[in-house]
Amino acid sequence: MAPADLNPLHGLLSGMEVEPGVGAALERLPDVTSVDTMLCGATASGRSSLALHFALHHAATANRPVMFLCRQDGLEGSMPLLPRLCASDNPCLHLLQLKYVRSYLDIQRFAACMHLLQTPLAALVVEDLSSLLRIDDRNTLVRTLAMLLEGVRSYRAASGCECPLLVTDSTDESRRPRYIFDRWFPLTLAISAAAGPSGTEGQAFVLSVGGPLASTTQASGAQSRPHEGAEGPVSVQPAGQSAGVTYRLVDDHFVLERVHEAGRGVAARQAGAREGTHGAAAAPVQLFL
């Protein structure tokens, strides 16, 4: 079994069109490695779509099913976008196993039964945790996260699959109990609205890297380095401005416009210069496999 891609950024960005000139900068994003990742982002930030892209990326890479747990009304009420250039008849879509859950109890039941799964999963996604429980019910949140992480870890040990886990949440940053999430997720990726005017193509968003290990103070100039966390190797990022990317919804897909290295950003070109330039410059890099 080929090793899984444990850099969640690869999966999350896999469905985006990449602006010319930004592709090379992508390689300078931190090489974050985490089997358990939290993705936080408000409604209409592209969170659900990125979660779907993450799932399909792992399904395509491993050629194994990915389980996607979500509320049915949430999914049908706001359909996530398919990755760029992913047609509705793409065979990878058959590897996506949607499991509708109604509340945190269904998550706990699923977690309790994970060791019974016969199918080797490529990844597991739990979409919008706050739609399944009240985030201010700390006891339930703690128990549900503990059950979920214990279930996934047991499944990994029994199956030999790395099965990266992505849990998303739409709670507002001010209300999110970060100290609880950081206990189980060494890596948190956050989506926030980008500063500045919306532009003709709509609101831009910033996907940035955070989490307890991303805040560890490093010596000046230190690069990210892997070290053994409680559950395996985890990359540690330099302190300072968070690394990440800026993307925008254009038509029916996301366009990656800018890469932010920790401490500085790398812009492709000014937003106005890309109007009407589809096909005029070098072909954009397609990340979706």
């Binding site: 060791h115 059950m147 047991s154 970060r178 100290y179 206990r183």
Partner: protein, 150 residues
Amino acid sequence: MSGYDPDAAATAVSITRAGDACFAELEELVEGNPGTDIPDDILASLHLLFGKNLAKALEVVDAGGITAHVGERSGRTVYKVPGRGDVYTVFPSHYCSCQSFMYDIVGRGEAVYCKHQLAVRLASVLRRVARAPCSDQDLARRLLGEGGVG
């Protein structure tokens, strides 16, 4: 409840790793000499790392009754630790269903482990856990039923 403290998170990681090293050393000793007591130097290190919860954990171990329910095919394990009027569900590295875990460990960050988590780790190394094999289906029911996870 406490807010996010990056220094505390980093400290917790350090304590966890140091604790893992102590438990690994103790495991080696016990393997070579079953029934041995915890050497003073390891005891001192564990006390330094885990404070008052270590003594409480040792009391829990001495009281007995820690059980590991193990799925026969999967090997998945859930620990049950008797407490004051209740039986707690413990995932030793990251969860206990007791109130102290919720308020002192998660809420206040006063320690890395509660006494029940430490007790499970100690009892496991000292071979003082009662092993109770069951079917994988029973294990799932046990995780959900009997009060579920707390």
